[in-house]
Amino acid sequence: MERPIAYPRILTAGDAAVVVEFGNEISPEINARIKTFHDILKDKKIPGIMDVIPTFRSVLINYEPAVLLYQDIVISIKETLQESGNVSETKKRIFRIPVCYGGIYGPDLKDVAEHAGMSEEEVIICHSKEPYLIYMLGFLPGFAYLGGLDPKLAIPRLQQPRKRIEAGSVGIGGEQTGIYPLVSPAGWRLIGRTPIKPYDPDRKIPILYEAGDYIQFDPITKEEYEIIEKQVAEGTYQCQIIE
């Protein structure tokens, strides 16, 4: 028998990166600990830390060995872990994302409703009732892996993926839901679209949200969609954030 692993643990990832692992499952508790750790580490602004990637259950820290050696970074990590252990609750940010469900924006809403045995209205209410936790960003810039989809809405991916979908498309694939941040091929069922840009390379903060934040979908009409779309283009739209 192997001994059980004690978390959190530090794993080597070459001479310019380390992994801090907080567990081996996907859970909101582990993710909350990662967010706390990441926030504290960010505030410390340790010279030599180049790029930090928080994920489902671990944090990858890329660093510059000419500034920071392995033994130095291990000390910094241990200190940060100790400090983050004392923090009981972190600030929760919820981003309200307006979504126009169905119609031309959500061509698969009907199929999702049929598959779930609900009306289209019920699917919209069910999909937008609770905020979703952003476990991590990856795959595409700003693509958020969200937790919390009602299992009733789960539906297999399309057998033939679409070659091109618009940025802002909201879809369901398997037991996951999310927003496509840029034009790409996609196998998820599209149920709606947001007029806001989760990713804009010319914005000061290119990606709206971070891992550990929440997303709350807010159903809007086609008319509201067009108004917001115009505001976004003019740069006057402010995304609503509840803290």
Binding site: L11, G14, D15, A17, N24, I53, Y70, L140, P141, F143
Partner: protein, 345 residues
């Protein structure tokens, strides 16, 4: 002013040392594949290390200069020619307005680098000039450079100090067999002891399925304990993923930020240049080293860079010897007088 691409080459992009700080948002780092060659190219033309260079793969571009500048070519041996005459690599050279630089098929290595004292005029996006083709950002409108396109310079700089000293011995990328050093982890505990032994004792061949994202290798099966899948986590540069087919994939500049395959180890920073410059069919022998050893080698490379910097900044013998200098200047003056005479006639 700048340059016109008469031929594009296979994959010619603008790159610097990469776009760091945005991996948490899902942006690949991008940047040059072979940092060492790019850093040396910049040193030779007196640029900061992180200045944007042109990176080309296997077949280089043909460039017509529309303004004069100083360039340096490093990396694989692309047999460069200027106006049909061989031009030296790893040397600062003048490229005059109207000159045509031809970069051919890489006789050795995969990646070539071209630096410019006049610096490339492409916008900085999120702290970097590197091209990220997938996200369509950085470099030349987020794309590889095509035939007929122009890239501009952002400053006028046709003079650098110690010009004649700016040359070093080209690096050799021709070996058919290479030892590449690896630090174990982060998921070495996903592999059988036998699997790890196989990985460090057998040779693995670089396959044609290799690009800026990663290199796939072929060789004996590396056995997992129970499955290759992990809950997706971050991928560092040089990470060696082994999916269920048991063969290594080394993750490089354009790697995705996160992935779900177990990583047996990570290629050490100083060995990445030699690794990425390996042609298809090169036999790779992986050798295990500790983090401490890898970081000691990293610091030695930093010292080596310092030594190169010193060497190319030192005035060459002719400049040190005042008499020789005087003679050289005299020649210049007489030459100028002659030229003036000519114009009077």
């Amino acid at each position: 002013m700048g340059m016109l691409f008469q031929k594009s080459g296979l994959l010619t992009t603008v790159q610097d040392l990469g776009r760091t700080g945005y991996q948490k948002d899902g942006f690949s780092v991008s940047g040059v594949m072979d940092r060492r060659s790019a850093i040396i190219a910049n040193m030779l033309v007196d640029n900061p290390e992180n200045e944007a260079v042109l990176e080309f793969m296997l077949v280089g571009p043909t460039i017509k200069f529309t303004s004069s500048t100083i360039i340096a070519i490093t990396g694989g041996n692309f047999e460069p020619m200027i106006n049909g005459k061989p031009a030296p690599m790893y040397t600062a050279i003048y490229a005059n307005r109207g000159d045509v630089l031809e970069l051919k098929f890489a006789k050795t290595g995969i990646w070539g680098y071209l630096s410019f004292s006049s610096k490339l005029d492409v916008p900085v996006v999120m702290g970097s000039r590197s091209t990220n083709i997938k996200c369509k950002i950085g470099g030349n409108h987020g794309q590889k450079i095509e035939k007929g396109e122009q890239v501009w310079f952002r400053i006028k700089k046709r003079y650098i100090t110690s010009f004649l000293s700016r040359t070093i011995e080209p690096e050799d990328f021709s070996q058919k067999k290479k030892t590449i050093r690896v630090v174990l982890g982060p998921q070495d505990d996903y592999f059988q002891k036998k699997g790890i032994e196989t990985f460090f004792s057998e040779d693995y061949l670089i396959t044609e399925e290799s690009d800026r994202m990663g290199y796939r290798l072929d060789g004996p099966y590396v056995a997992h304990k129970d499955g290759a899948d992990i809950i997706s986590d971050g991928i560092p540069l040089g990470a060696i993923q082994i999916p269920s087919h048991g063969k290594p994939i080394v993750m490089l500049a354009d790697r995705q930020t996160t992935g779900g395959y177990a990583k047996i180890g990570t290629v050490i920073s100083v060995d990445i240049p030699a690794f990425v410059q390996s042609k298809e069919g090169t036999a790779i022998h992986f050798e295990k080293v500790s983090v401490e050893t890898a970081q000691r080698l990293y610091m030695e490379q930093e010292k080596d860079y310092d030594a190169i910097r010193k060497r190319i900044h030192r005035p060459c013998k002719e400049v040190i010897e005042p008499r020789l200098t005087a003679k050289r200047i005299e020649k210049l003056y007489t030459k100028q007088e002659l030229q003036e005479d000519e114009t009077w006639i």
